[in-house]
């Protein structure tokens, strides 16, 4: 583009800036709200509707018993996680915010914005009237992001730094789970099934995605295999899983799965639920990945073959990187729905966020706070899911999907 500009000056006329509108606001109104009588009517009707809705909501929000949220905040967020062990959760949060900060420092771009957001949010939260301890913990999160950021910023000069960073990211998942869950013998085990709250939803979703991702890729490759037996089996698996509701599979996990395992293997319900959701999501993941694979032109396979790459190299070096890049939005969408699906764990008596909120509603003291609690849960999920899809759109843009 720069080149274009420069050369264009060869021919006389200078480029002009585009003509400017006189009264942009009026013009905007006319173009966007009152371009025809039908549009004008719509505008009026919807304005009234919005105003009435907002007034009603505002009135209710002012009179609502919001104290139910702070009073039960710990319960909602981490369930009945023992207070004396809560430092373990903070530690994992520190670990992750440190990693995010470090990535922000060493890579910039989107990660930088995310780490900024974490730092700012933690400062803002610390202003809220939590207990002194909690405020300290929260501020610590901002601090660990900052430390990570500085380290990343200066560390990126070292050639190995980014590799180490990726290694740490990969390690962070098992470390988090071990810290939160405990290791028998070393750290007291805190059972997830009845004591994790929102954290259970989050960890469930992350584990689900981390495990279903590789399985999904294999299934997708299997479904596109040129060997009929493999294709058939993978297709059957995917279609059967996608043909039934998740809730029936959870039902099966809670009641029947044990019957399929050897008599000395009796995994905990939470583990069975995770296995189920992984098996379920893998089928959907496979379809997403397959979508990406289908979008890769045949020419890419041919070119890879023609320079002598074998099947394995073609797949790992040429096809997968492109296919996965294409399906980032679909995968994030998948992650979002997986996160939302963890609310179904309540169906098999696992105390996730929604289930816990219902036991709060059952508490005599908090009778009638049903709206407040559901609004809170709705907002929590909405914020999480919306920001994820926002981030995915940003990643998509920064990778230049669909450009070329």
């Amino acid at each position: 583009m720069d080149e274009t500009r420069k050369r264009s000056h060869t021919y006389g006329d200078d480029e002009l800036p585009p003509p400017i509108e006189r009264i942009p606001v009026l013009r905007w109104l006319k173009e966007n709200l009152f371009s025809s009588w039908f549009n004008a009517i719509l505008t009026v009707v919807f304005t009234v509707f919005i105003v009435v809705l907002l007034l009603g909501l505002g009135k209710w929000a002012l009179g609502a018993r919001w104290e139910v949220i702070p009073a039960n905040l710990k319960l909602l967020l981490v369930g009945t996680y023992p207070l004396e062990d809560i430092w373990r959760i903070w530690t994992t949060l520190y670990l992750i915010s440190f990693l995010v900060g470090s990535a922000g420092g060493s890579r910039g771009g989107l990660m930088r914005q995310i780490s900024m957001t974490i730092a700012i949010v933690s400062v803002v939260l610390a202003i809220l009237p939590f207990g002194l301890m909690t405020r300290g913990w929260i501020l610590g999160m901002g601090a660990s992001t900052g430390i990570g950021f500085l380290l990343g910023h200066f560390g990126k000069r070292f050639r190995r730094y980014k590799h180490i960073e990726i290694g740490l990211w990969v390690l962070s998942l098992p470390v988090t789970i071990m810290l939160v869950n405990g290791i028998s013998g070393l750290l007291p085990v805190v059972e997830g099934r009845n004591s994790w709250g929102l954290m259970l939803n989050i960890i469930g979703a992350i584990v689900g995605i981390a495990l279903s991702f590789p399985i999904g890729i294999l299934l997708a490759l299997g479904r596109r295999s040129e060997l009929p037996a493999i294709r058939l089996i993978c297709t059957a698996y995917i279609e059967i899983i996608r043909g039934v509701p998740l809730i029936t599979l959870l039902f099966m996990a809670s009641i029947m799965l044990q019957l399929l395992l050897p008599s000395n293997v009796r995994p905990d319900l939470l583990i069975r639920a995770m296995m189920t959701i992984t098996a379920f999501e893998a089928a959907y993941m496979a379809e997403n990945v397959r979508g990406g694979l289908q979008a890769i032109p045949k020419g890419q396979y041919e070119a890879a073959n023609a320079v002598g790459l074998n099947k394995l190299l073609t797949t790992t070096l040429i096809i997968m990187p492109q296919a996965l890049r294409l399906v980032i939005p679909a995968i994030v969408g998948q992650f979002i729905s997986l996160f939302m699906d963890t609310t179904l764990f309540g169906f098999i008596a696992i105390l996730e966020l929604l289930h816990i909120s219902r036991s709060i509603m059952g508490n005599v003291q908090w009778r009638g706070t049903i709206f407040e609690l559901y609004v809170f849960i709705g907002v929590v999920f909405w914020l999480a899911c919306y920001s994820m899809s926002y981030i995915s759109r940003r990643i998509e843009k920064s990778l230049g999907v669909g450009e070329r």
Binding site: Q300, A303, N305, A306, V307, G308, N310, I318, R325
Partner: protein, 250 residues
């Protein structure tokens, strides 16, 4: 209709191929010497692409014999690998790897297939980019290049495996008119340097100037095989004449 030279670097003997019921190649035989430049032309759908794609086994043939550099193309895994190393190919749609830089595109195969050291592979890649005239684009991504530049990268990528034979499948037909010349120039240089080449193209100017022999294809068969002079000024077949009139009219 075809030479039956056993000494050829490429030998096709009565090659047949079907897509389902559709008989694409209907007994193709020809052979080539080292250093020869062969141009294949013919109407669309006549099987030109299919024919040259059987030579590095991007497609398999169902009957007949294809021998490349003394190796017969069969279902033997090792033969196929060996032949792909010997034969470079340049496609109409470039088919560069869009997620890799130009340098990575070119050095990928030497690194992974020939197991060269990375520095060595990149050195070779840079030399080749120089040869095709775009050493300064090494760190860009294909999407940032013009069509002509992309096709030159594709040529460099094929050359990086030091092939004995290069196949070109309509290398200029997806290019803007202005860019065709830059690619043809590179190919001309390559031909002069003694590379054995098969080129499917409609660029008759190029054929006239560079080809040692021209093959005219129709309905999966070789209709005419001739030297450029005779091909253009003294075509043997009616079909060839008709084709030439259409192509050269404007």
């Amino acid at each position: 209709m075809s030479t039956n030279n056993n000494e050829g670097i490429i030998i096709l003997r009565d090659v047949h191929k079907w897509y389902g019921d559709f008989h694409v190649l209907r007994g193709v035989s020809f052979s080539m010497h080292t250093g020869e430049v062969l141009v294949i032309c013919g109407p669309s759908g006549s099987g030109k692409s299919t024919c040259i794609r059987t030579i590095n086994r991007l497609e398999d043939h169902q009957k007949g014999q294809i021998i490349v550099d003394g190796i017969e193309l069969t279902n033997d895994l090792r033969n196929i690998e060996a032949i792909r190393r010997d034969v470079g190919m340049v496609f109409q749609q470039f088919n560069l790897f869009p997620h890799l830089t130009v340098l990575q595109n070119v050095s990928l195969a030497p690194f992974w297939v020939l197991k060269m050291k990375k520095s060595k592979a990149e050195e070779i890649a840079l030399q080749l980019l120089e040869r095709v005239g775009i050493p300064d684009q090494a760190d860009k991504y294909p999407g940032q290049l013009s069509g002509g530049q992309q096709q030159r990268v594709a040529i460099a990528r094929a050359l990086a495996m030091s092939p004995k034979i290069m196949l070109f499948d309509e290398p200029t037909s997806a290019l803007d008119p202005e860019m065709i010349k830059e690619v043809l120039d590179v190919m001309k240089e390559l031909a002069r340097s003694g590379m054995t080449m098969i080129v499917v193209t409609h660029e008759m100017g190029f054929a006239r100037e560079v080809a040692d022999r021209i093959i005219f294809f129709d309905y999966g068969q070789i209709v005419e095989e001739n030297t450029p002079e005779d091909f253009f000024h003294n075509p043997q077949h009616e079909r060839t004449k008709l084709f030439l009139s259409q192509i050269l009219d404007y």
